[in-house]
């Protein structure tokens, strides 16, 4: 492989820089979400009918929506719900997925059942499954988290199971078994510690997918109720005014893209940094 050294150099710099930028962007978004009451210039629900659908300007930096509510403030509060839902999905799917992945990978007897369920769930397109589940469960923030967790848990199971299958054959696990170390400790120390990095990488991707999926669900009316400001519901309720007032949908859309993209870049960066083989190759 004769790659130009200059190209390689730039790629490397660019990679690292981009990860750093993405990391900062994420940090800022999360900080704003956390500090929403202090950062947002207006109450997200403050209706001001006379300042309806005003374009971005001095009073409302990103304009106002059909009820005269400040788009910027709603994006900041929306971040709370959107990222909150995403984060909850990550926590639930990581916990459940890791558990089942470990069990399926370590105990051959459980593997068949678990993987059959996983394959069945993964055979359906993510968003369809999510819509179906929300439709059955009813539209609420809780149910969206539940539905998306069901959608993304199988991915985690796969990743964890694959790593577990490799790690459990390694001599240090055999050594632990020869020592009479309990199975519980083998799973929770020897295997879990060593699957942690691929799982962490997966977590950032699922976070990104969940943010996108929540928006998608809300846009399709199968998400959280419209009263709750999320980036998804903002686009959903703003879409009919989009022709005259692009800002109503553009800015929440940008927020989604920015958050999801940053998460993915951070995930890529993490993977490169945690994978010793890739790190050497760099």
């Amino acid at each position: 492989m004769d790659r130009s050294p200059i190209l390689l150099f730039f790629r490397r710099m660019f990679r690292r820089k981009l990860v750093l930028v993405a990391f900062v962007v994420l940090f800022v978004i999360m900080l704003m979400a956390l500090l929403a009451p202090w950062v947002a210039p207006y109450e997200p629900t403050a209706i001001k009918v006379i300042r309806r659908l005003k374009p971005p300007g001095e009073l409302n930096w990103l304009g106002t929506d059909e009820f005269g509510r400040d788009v910027f403030s709603r994006i900041i509060y929306g971040a709370r719900a959107s990222l909150g839902i995403g984060f909850a999905v990550v926590v639930v799917s990581m916990t459940v997925g890791t558990l089942f992945g470990l069990l399926a990978g370590y105990f051959r007897s459980l593997d068949g059942v678990v993987m059959r369920v996983v394959d069945a769930l993964m055979a359906l397109p993510d968003i369809l499954l999510a819509i179906f589940l929300v439709a059955v469960l009813g539209a609420s923030a809780f149910n969206v988290v539940l539905a998306l967790s069901i959608v993304y848990t199988p991915r985690v199971v796969r990743v964890v199971r694959a790593s577990t299958l490799v790690i459990r054959e390694l001599p240090f696990v055999e050594a632990a078994r020869a020592l009479g170390v309990s199975t519980r400790r083998i799973l929770s120390v020897h295997i879990l510690l060593n699957v942690a990095s691929p799982v962490l990488v997966q977590a950032t991707f699922i976070f990104a997918y969940a943010v996108l999926a929540e928006a998608g669900l809300s846009f399709l009316g199968a998400g959280v109720p419209p009263e709750l400001p999320t980036w998804g519901t903002m686009i959903a309720s703003g879409q009919q005014y989009a022709d005259d007032a692009f800002w109503v949908v553009l800015f929440p859309g940008l927020a989604i893209v920015l958050a999801a993209l940053s998460l993915q870049i951070v995930g890529d960066g993490l993977r490169d940094m945690l994978d010793p083989k890739l790190r050497k190759a760099l």
Binding site: A175, A178, L179, G180, V181, S182, H190, L193, N194
Partner: protein
């Protein structure tokens, strides 16, 4: 001589997989190890050495046969009744990198052995870990390091310290020096010799290097395709081999001596697949003396005196040569 053996293996057999892809990894293997004795297992890759080691420690289940440890058959005991085996028999591995959990500190790697059998706790535990490290020639202060901070030879010492933590009577050492450079290999060999002396350890010492095995072991078993071809004292096996395979193996090992005769006679062909071992004597496809009889019947292990046994239809030492074709 007839002290009751620490380990006695009878008719040990292990098959992997199912019918069309059935791998006959170990086939009817018997041997015993007396307390404090070192038995060497030699053979080319795939001959079943590691599999036997893992069977003996009950890390995998046998297909048939008995494994007696201090007289008790452990081959079918459930894991919860194996505490005494785990306490008395340990393993040292070939790969100095994969045999230590990269995410644990040395303290926790060795401490795990102590915790599993509740041998010590608190300050006593730390003291014991330091002691073990010093036993294998590492400073006690290294206990808070991670494995990647050590060289291959040092990691191998940590692996030995972990095995010693439970004060075992038997150590299965699966190619413990094969991955090391000669100079480091010598360090680890000497360490294992010392420990053997100090603690009266018995060992099942697996290697493909005949020189190392001859140096380390009291007796040697030669394996081919999962079967024992020959077993006897180190001296007998290396000076007076009776089985054609043992002879070929000895002839093929290059001697680090430019005056030694060069390799001229050698085995042709490859080791057959353990999925389709030859009928009769499994060595016959490469044996320079094979006859039709060898394809028909499996040679039984027979005695050459003094515990020296070999599995061949012909005993060249007694001029039992196959009739010239």
């Amino acid at each position: 001589m007839s002290a009751s053996p620490l380990l006695a293996v009878e008719g040990l057999t292990k098959h992997f997989g199912r019918a069309p892809h059935l791998v006959r990894a170990v086939e009817d293997v018997s041997f015993h190890i007396a307390p404090g004795e070192v038995l060497g297992l030699v053979g080319e890759s795939g001959s079943g050495k590691s599999t036997i080691g893992r069977l003996v420690l009950r890390l995998i289940e046998s297909t048939a046969g008995t494994i007696r440890f201090e007289g008790q058959d452990i081959s079918k005991l459930p894991e919860r009744q194996l505490k005494f085996l785990r306490r008395n028999a340990q393993m040292v591995f070939q790969d100095p990198y994969a045999s230590l959990n990269p995410r644990l500190r040395v303290r926790d790697i060795i401490g795990e052995a102590i915790d599993a059998h509740r041998l010590a706790s608190g300050a006593k535990r730390t003291e014991r870990i330091g002691e073990l490290l010093e036993t294998v020639g590492l400073p006690a202060s290294h206990m808070s390091r991670f494995p990647h901070e050590f060289s291959g030879g040092q990691r191998q010492r940590i692996g030995v310290a972990r095995a010693l933590a439970v004060e075992p009577k038997l150590i299965v050492a699966d190619e413990p020096v094969s991955a090391l450079d000669v100079s480091v290999q010598a360090q680890v060999i000497n360490l294992m010799q010392d420990l053997r002396q100090r603690f009266g350890l018995a060992m099942l010492f697996i290697s493909h290097d005949l020189d190392v095995v001859e140096l380390m072991c009291d007796r040697i078993a030669v394996l081919y395709l999962g079967r024992v071809m020959e077993i006897g004292s180190s001296e007998e096996i290396s000076q007076r081999p009776r089985h054609p395979y043992t002879r070929a193996l000895l002839a093929a090992s290059p001697k680090a001596d430019p005056d030694a005769p060069k390799i001229r006679r050698m085995l042709t062909g490859d080791i057959p697949s353990p999925m389709a071992p030859p009928s009769g004597c499994v060595f016959r496809t490469r044996c320079p003396m094979a006859t039709d009889e060898c394809a028909r019947s499996v040679p039984k292990l027979r005695s050459a005196g003094d515990g020296h046994k070999f599995a061949c239809h012909y005993d060249t030492a007694n001029d039992e040569r196959p009739a010239a074709a």
